[in-house]
C-alpha cells in the first residue's frame, strides 16, 4: 500500500503572518509586526525545541552601533568599514539603512530588558572588533555593544520574551516543507510537526523566512545541527533564485572536533599559530600582520600548511589541524579576558591552554548570501520583481548587507535592524492584503511524494556515509581554496552523492519523531545547496571576500555584480546577475569617494 495515500494535511491554521524560523531575526520581525499592528496573529515555526534554543543564542561577540551623538565615532565610518569589508559587493542602500538605525535598535533591545555589559557610568559598554575603524580605516574604533561573551543569548532572550508578551504562537520541532502559492503570491506553507508526525497547512497573508545559516555541509562547521539550509532549499524548490551562495565565511580557528569558534580575541591577546614542527608559520606569509592578518588570509595560510604536510591529524576526531599556542600569555589574561574560550579548549578537547598546544582548523561559519531581497525584505524572483507575500530577514536573507564578506559584529546587528524593517513592512502589507483563501489545489503534492519517497525507498546506501562524503568533498573542493578542476570534480561528485541518496532505506517507517526521516530530508537540502554553491563558485572567476579562487586570485571588475542562481532540477543551475547598489557613491554627497571601488588592504 502506497504511503502517499496516507499522507495528508491534518489541520489548518490561519494566522495573519507565518514566520519560518524563530531566531533573532524572525522574532525581532514578529515583535515589530505586533508593535506596529497590535493584535496581529503570528505563528512562528521553529525546528528546535524552543525558540530560546535557536543558533542565535550561541553568538558571542557583539553588535556594532554608532550613537549619532558620539563625539568620536561616526555612522559614516561604520558604513565605510562595512563596504570595504564586503570587498565592494554589499548593497550600499542596505548598508545605510542598517548602520543608521543601529543605535536605535540597540537601545530598543536595552529598553526591552537585554543585560548589556556596562561602563562605570552605567551606560552600554563598547569594545573594539576586527575591521571596525575610525576615520576611514585609521585606528580601531570602540563600536561593539555586548553582553559579556554571550551577546547572541541576550538578543535571543529579549526578542523571545517580547514575542511571548505579544502572544506569538509557536510550533516547535516543526519544519516548513513546502511553500504555498496562489497566482504567484505566497500564501503560507505546509508545516510538518516532528513530534506527532502530522502536517498542518498554515495559510497566512504574509510569510517571513528567517531560517538562518547553512554551513553543515562542511566537515568542520561552527553551525548547530539544525542549520541544514532548509529555507534555501524551499526557495529553490519554488523556482526562486538564491544569491551569492558561493560566499561562505570560514573562520580560521575552529576548535578541532566540535568546530566551535576559538575567537580572534585569542590572537589579539598574543596567541601564535604553529605547524607540526611548532614553527610560527604566519611570519612567513604575513611578516607584518602575522597572526592578526584578515580571517580569510589566515584560513588560507593554515590550509596551505596542512596541504604541504606540516599539519597534524587529531587521533580522536581524525581531522587535520595546526596548533594555537597560548602558553606564553600571562596567567592573569588567561583568567580574565580569554577565560570563556580557554574554557572551551579545556571542556571539549581536554587541553589546558596555559600548558599545552591547542588544536585549531578553519571552520565554516557564516553564509553571506541567501534569498535575494530588496531593502524591505521582500523576496525577489528577479532583479526587477518581487514575490507578493514573501519576505526574508536575518542570515537567511541577502539584502545584501555583507556582500561577499561579513565584518564581525555586523551579523547580530543585521538581525535586529532588518528584522524591524521587514516587520514594519509586513505589518503595513497585511493591513490591506487579501485573505489567502483556501488551501491551494496542489498543496502537499511536493512534500507528500518526497516523504513517501524517503519512507518507502529500498536500497543499500547508508545515510552516514553519504553525509560524511559530502562534508569532506565540500571542505576539500568548495572550501577555503577553490579552483576550476576541483569545482568541476565537486559538481560530478555531488551528482553521484545525490544519486546514492535516492537509495537510502530508513530503518523505521514511523512518522512520529523519526530522526532518520528528518535527516534524509536535511541531506537532500545540503546536497541541493552544495550543488548551487559549487556552480556559482565555478562561474565566479575571481576572488572576492570569502570566495577565493587559486586560479583567479585577484578581484576583477567585470565580476562586480551579485550571483543569482536557480535550480529546479538537480545539477541544472541557471545563473543570472543582480547589480550591486552604489547609491552612496552615486549620491555624490560628503565622502562619496570612499564608497567607490576601493582596495581591500588593511
Amino acid at each position: 500500500m502506497k504511503l502517499a495515500k496516507k499522507l495528508k494535511i491534518d489541520s489548518v491554521l490561519r494566522p495573519d503572518v507565518l514566520v519560518v524560523g524563530a531566531g533573532g531575526a524572525g522574532l525581532r520581525c514578529a515583535a515589530a509586526i505586533c508593535n506596529r499592528r497590535p493584535g496581529t496573529r503570528v505563528v512562528a515555526v521553529t525546528k528546535v525545541h524552543s525558540p530560546q534554543k535557536s543558533h542565535t543564542s550561541t553568538a558571542q561577540g557583539g553588535m556594532a552601533a554608532v550613537d549619532p551623538r558620539d563625539p568620536i565615532d561616526k555612522v559614516v565610518y561604520h558604513m565605510f568599514d562595512t563596504w570595504k569589508g564586503s570587498d565592494c559587493s554589499a548593497d550600499q542602500n542596505i548598508i545605510k539603512i542598517v548602520c543608521e538605525s543601529a543605535w536605535e535598535q540597540v537601545v530598543w533591545l536595552e529598553r526591552h530588558g537585554m543585560h548589556f555589559s556596562r561602563t562605570e557610568e552605567g551606560r552600554i559598554a563598547k569594545r573594539p572588533f576586527g575591521g571596525h575603524m575610525l576615520n576611514f580605516g585609521e585606528v580601531k574604533a570602540f563600536r561593539s555593544c555586548y553582553e559579556a561573551d554571550r551577546t547572541g543569548k541576550g538578543i535571543m532572550d529579549t526578542v523571545w520574551g517580547e514575542s511571548l508578551r505579544h502572544g506569538v504562537m509557536f510550533l516547535n520541532q516543526s519544519v516548513a516543507t513546502e511553500l504555498l502559492f496562489r497566482n504567484g503570491r505566497c500564501v503560507g506553507a505546509i508545516v510538518f510537526m516532528e513530534q506527532n508526525g502530522k502536517f498542518v497547512a498554515v495559510l497566512a497573508k504574509a510569510t517571513v523566512m528567517a531560517t538562518g545559516g547553512k554551513t553543515r555541509m562542511y566537515q568542520v562547521s561552527t553551525n548547530c545541527r539544525q542549520n541544514t539550509g532548509d529555507g534555501l532549499a524551499l526557495t529553490l524548490q519554488a523556482g526562486l533564485p538564491v544569491m551569492d551562495v558561493e560566499a561562505v565565511q570560514f573562520h580560521p580557528t575552529g576548535i578541532v572536533g566540535p568546530g566551535i569558534l576559538a575567537s580572534e580575541a585569542l590572537r589579539g591577546e598574543g596567541a601564535i599559530l604553529r605547524n607540526k614542527d611548532e614553527e610560527p608559520f604566519m611570519e612567513r606569509y604575513a611578516p607584518t600582520a602575522k597572526d592578526l592578518a584578515p580571517r580569510d588570509l589566515v584560513s588560507r595560510c593554515i590550509l596551505t600548511e596542512i596541504r604541504e604536510g606540516r599539519g597534524c591529524i587529531h587521533p580522536d576526531h581524525k581531522l587535520p589541524h595546526v596548533w594555537l599556542d597560548l602558553r606564553h600569555i600571562p596567567e592573569h589574561i588567561h583568567k580574565t579576558r580569554i577565560q570563556e574560550v580557554c574554557g572551551f579548549f579545556c571542556k571539549f578537547v581536554g587541553v589546558e591552554p596555559q600548558h599545552e598546544l591547542c588544536p585549531v582548523t578553519p571552520t565554516a561559519h557564516y553564509q553571506m548570501g541567501g534569498a535575494p531581497t530588496n531593502e524591505f525584505g521582500e523576496v525577489q524572483k528577479d532583479p526587477q520583481r518581487i514575490v507578493a507575500g514573501l519576505y526574508a530577514c536575518g542570515e537567511f536573507a541577502a539584502a545584501s548587507l555583507h556582500g561577499h564578506n561579513r565584518l564581525g559584529t555586523n551579523s547580530l546587528l543585521e538581525l535586529i535592524t532588518m528584522g524591524k524593517v521587514v516587520g514594519e513592512r509586513v505589518a503595513d502589507y497585511i493591513e490591506d492584503a487579501e485573505d489567502p483563501g483556501d488551501i491551494p489545489q496542489d498543496a502537499g503534492s511536493h512534500v507528500f511524494s518526497q516523504f513517501s519517497g524517503y519512507l518507502e525507498t529500498e536500497g543499500q546506501e547508508r545515510y552516514a556515509e553519504i553525509r560524511d562524503a559530502l562534508r569532506v568533498l565540500m571542505m576539500d573542493q568548495v572550501g577555503v581554496f577553490r579552483n576550476e578542476k576541483g569545482l568541476m570534480e565537486a559538481i560530478e561528485g555531488l551528482k553521484e552523492l545525490k544519486d546514492r541518496a535516492r537509495r537510502m532505506a530508513p530503518a523505521s517507517k514511523s512518522l512520529i519523531m523519526n530522526l532518520e526521516l528528518i535527516q534524509f530530508w536535511e541531506l537532500d537540502h545540503l546536497l541541493d545547496i552544495s550543488m548551487v554553491i559549487a556552480q556559482s563558485a565555478l562561474a565566479r572567476k575571481e576572488s572576492r571576500g570569502g570566495h577565493y579562487r587559486e586560479d583567479y586570485p585577484e578581484r576583477r571588475s567585470e565580476f562586480h555584480y551579485h550571483t543569482l542562481a536557480c535550480m529546479t532540477e538537480y545539477g541544472k543551475v541557471t545563473l543570472d546577475r543582480r547589480p550591486i547598489d552604489m547609491s552612496l557613491y552615486e549620491a555624490k554627497g560628503e565622502h562619496y569617494e570612499k564608497f567607490g571601488i576601493i582596495e581591500r588592504k588593511y
Binding site: H112, H115, F348, G350, A464
Partner: protein, 242 residues
C-alpha cells in the same frame, strides 16, 4: 596516542507507535575526547539509526541536550568520555531523558511542556520604568548588575528542575530564577505582580533548600542563592532599589 575506551550505554527507549518502553544496551569503542552527543551519533551511524536524541549547538550554549547519565542531569555535549569514566568510575552508563516533560521517543522530550513554567513567570519586562531623560538606554551601574548578572546566564536546560527534590506543584528553580532576575532588574516596575508569583503556593514555599539545583547547574550558577534571597524576604516592592 589516543586511548580507546570500551563503553556500554544502557539507554532508556520508548516507541510511541507501540507504546513500548525498554532499556537497550549499546556497546561501543570511543576515543577519550568524544562527547556523549558524539557517542549517540556514532550509535546512529554504526548500529542503530532509530535511536532518537536531541541536541542543537553541541557546545553548552543552548541547553537542548540535557539528559540523565547515571542519574545525574547534565548536558551531554559537555560530557567527554574520559571525564565521564573518571567522574562516575565506570565504563557502564545509564542514559535517560530528563523527567520534567513527557517523552516523545527515546531520549526526546516535549520541552515546551516544561517551558510552560517559565512562561508563567513572564520572562520579559512587564512594566518598564520611565526611560532615561536623554532618551537613550537606562543607566544601570556595574555594582547593581553584578548582583544578578550570574543569574542571567541561565539557558533553561532544565537540569536543575530535574534534580530538584520538589517535582510537583512547583515553578521550579529555573523559573524562580527568571522571576528573581527581573525583580532585581531596575528596569522592571511590576514588582508586586512578580512578588505575588514568587511567594505564591507554587513559589518559595515549595523550595526545601536541598541545593540540588546549584549542584547540577551546567552553567555553575548558584541558583539556590537567589531562591534563598527570596526566602529571606530580601525582595520587597522596592526590590530593585535595594
Amino acid at each position: 596516542m589516543s586511548l580507546d575506551y570500551e563503553l556500554t550505554l544502557k539507554i532508556r527507549r520508548y516507541d510511541p507507535d507501540s507504546e513500548r518502553a525498554w532499556v537497550q544496551d549499546y556497546h561501543l569503542k570511543a576515543g577519550r575526547i568524544l562527547r556523549f552527543v558524539d557517542l549517540f551519533r556514532k550509535i546512529n551511524d554504526e548500529q542503530d539509526p532509530t535511536l532518537a536524541w536531541s541536541s542543537s549547538c553541541e557546545h553548552g550554549q543552548c541547553g537542548t541536550c540535557g539528559m540523565k547519565i547515571n542519574g545525574k542531569p547534565l548536558l551531554t555535549c559537555e560530557l567527554l568520555v574520559e571525564k565521564a569514566v573518571e567522574q562516575f568510575k565506570t565504563h557502564i552508563f545509564t542514559v535517560e531523558p530528563l523527567t520534567i516533560a513527557p517523552v516523545i521517543r527515546d531520549l526526546v522530550i516535549d520541552l515546551e511542556r516544561a517551558y510552560e513554567r517559565v512562561h508563567r513567570v513572564k520572562p520579559y519586562i512587564i512594566a518598564p520604568a520611565p526611560p532615561h531623560p536623554d532618551g537613550d538606554e537606562y543607566r544601570i551601574f556595574p555594582r547593581v548588575l553584578e548582583k544578578y548578572v550570574e543569574a542571567t546566564r541561565c539557558i533553561n536546560c532544565f537540569c536543575c528542575a530535574t534534580a530538584c527534590v520538589t517535582q510537583k506543584n512547583y515553578l521550579g528553580p529555573n523559573a524562580m530564577l527568571a522571576n528573581v532576575v527581573r525583580l532585581m532588574d531596575p528596569r522592571e516596575t511590576a514588582d508586586k505582580e512578580r512578588l505575588d508569583i514568587l511567594y505564591s503556593e507554587q513559589g518559595t514555599p515549595r523550595c526545601r533548600t536541598a541545593l540540588a539545583c546549584s549542584f547540577v547547574c551546567p552553567k555553575e550558577i548558584d541558583i539556590a542563592h537567589f531562591i534563598a534571597l527570596a526566602k529571606e524576604g530580601h525582595f520587597s516592592e522596592n526590590a530593585s532599589s535595594a
